[in-house]
Amino acid sequence: MGGIGKKRVKKRTHLKADPIQEAAIPKSMVIRSGASEVGRSLSLLTRDLRHMMEPHTAIRLKERKANKIKDYLTMAGPLGVTHLLVLSRTDNNANLRIIRAPRGPSLHFRIHEYMLNKDVRRLQKNPKSPTTEFLTPPLLVMNHFNQNSSKDSPHEALLTTTFQNMFPPISVQHTNINSVKRVLLLNRRDDGYIDLRHFIISTKPVGISRPIRHLLKGEKKDSDIPDLHNVRDISDYVLHGDGISGAASDSEIEEDATVEIDRPVPTKTEENLLSASQLLKPKQQAIKLIEIGPRMTLELIKITEDAMGGKVLYHSHVHKSKEEIKQQDNFHEQSRALKEKRKKEQDENVRRKRENKKRRKDQKKEGITSSNKNDDSGNEGSSAYSDTE
């Protein structure tokens, strides 16, 4: 029963996280550039984005005005952070930058429009506050994004790959469908803008009419039993519902929104009502999406090779001819060569200074030995004087 002094660990219940799998999960940080200088609205958007990126993000990260992007990039390695989402603002634009840590590339977006979570909540008649939905990562749905890299637009594949790699991949074997609680939609419009929407997934049983659903709901909770004192016959209630004469409600489930899900353990009522074959048949569930925000409309402006600066791979406004591109390549090549040359020189200087220091230390040791000899001669003189006395 475990070693002496060790805490008891249940191997099958408390599963250890596989370090290899843990390292493969992408982690992110959502950062405000200049901390509180971006203003209150973007600070709230930062908080909403952190909730969206949960659970593999730093929720309670506190920036300081003195922090630079370089600080975060330096710490990204030890912490295992793979993506930085940096929010910044000028007088006319709000900007979002997605940096692949630690070496790049970096995608620069302009936030054309955005709505916060509380703005989206205000639009809805029955808003929902998520709680446990943030414990699992969202499902990523991308529409009109180009997978293949083409000669005309090589940046689109990079864009697609960057978004896909921000979230952990779905394991076909081990994914429990019920654990997928959220969906993140990225829709590319014809004019190039990217719409970002964030929904909660909720499922409801299908094939059951509303009156019967209300009755089944009352089975679990006494207070939910509908009021039937005006109903003369149960068939009237089942066929026509409570007061509404067969009018279809606007929340009727559409045809293509149903999903088959393994039936959970049947309740006693189901055991009594359904036959054995019906119990084994999978249950149909309807998918319903509830928006929780934030909403964003992004426009891709620039892609650079490095995390900060570097070669510009794509720019939506500035277009360069082949000669200009070649010139730019030469410039970057020369910059790299100059940097390497300087680094080599610095290394040489460091080595030389180290050798000089060692040599000076050796000389000091020789000096110490000579001074010891002088001391010995002094002692001999004193002893001779005492002998004469």
């Binding site: 971006v38 203003g39 209150r40 609205s41 973007l42 603002r89 007088d91 006319n92 634009n93 709000a94 936030i111 054309h112 429009e113 955005y114 709505m115 916060l116 703005d119 205000r122 639009l123 499902l139 749905v141 529409n143 779905i170 076909v172 074997q173 994914t175 469908i177 997928v180 969906v183 939609l185 829709n187 719409d195 929407r197 929904f199 997934i201 293509d256 929104a257 149903t258 999903v259 088959e260 899900i261 393994d262 998918i287 999406l289 928006e291 909403r295």
Partner: protein, 205 residues
């Protein structure tokens, strides 16, 4: 006892007599005083009449002089008022002038502060949409259609993925029974099969 009674009787008689004397004396004095006063009054009345007449004359003289001065002052004031176009009371009051200047300065400062704050908020809120307000019916319809389309795309994606995952898991459970070999090798083969079939499912859908 008899002696004390006699002394008391004597005292009473004495006091009674003294009272009568006093009252009689007073009456006499009063009469004399009244007569004297009447004489004095007569004399004084004459004097008062003389003084009243003299005072009246003096008052008339004074009134004449004051009226002239007042008229002159009024005329002068009118002239000054028309020239300066300010009421003399307010123009000479330093306190009210200072207060007025101070309130003007405060008002200007407040207006400047408000405009500066509004400008800062406008810059901070760049790009933010707080509520969807449609100007006309067509705009409202377009916005609503766009949002519904986005929701439909998301739902279709979710449905496809759920169905694909479920089908893949079913197939893998079926395949697991048929594959031979050890437990580890079996798991590896099942993984490979499921991955390939999963990708095929997604592509087909």
């Amino acid at each position: 006892m008899a002696k004390s009674q006699r002394s008391q009787i004597k005292n009473e008689d004495i006091s009674f007599v003294s009272q009568e004397d006093d009252s009689s004396k007073k009456f006499v004095k009063d009469d004399s005083e009244n007569s004297e006063e009447e004489l004095e009054d007569l004399n004084s009345e004459d004097e008062f009449y003389q003084s009243n007449s003299s005072e009246d004359e003096i008052e008339e003289e004074v009134q004449e002089s004051t009226i002239a001065d007042d008229i002159a002052d009024i005329l002068n004031q009118q002239v000054t008022q028309t020239d300066e176009q300010d009421t003399p009371v307010l123009s000479l009051s330093k306190k009210s002038k200072k207060a007025l200047r101070k309130s003007n300065a405060e008002k200007k400062d407040s207006k400047l502060r408000t405009s500066r704050r509004r400008e800062r908020l406008r810059k901070e809120m760049v790009g933010r949409v707080t509520s969807v307000v449609a100007v006309n019916a067509e705009t409202a319809k377009a916005l609503f259609t766009h949002e519904r389309e986005l929701r439909r795309i998301a739902r279709r994606g979710v449905v496809q993925l759920f169905n694909a995952v479920r089908t893949a898991q079913l197939q893998s459970s079926l395949n697991r029974e048929n594959i031979s070999g050890g437990r580890t090798a079996r798991e590896q083969k099942v993984k490979e099969l499921s991955k390939a079939s999963f990708l095929d499912l997604i592509k087909s859908q």
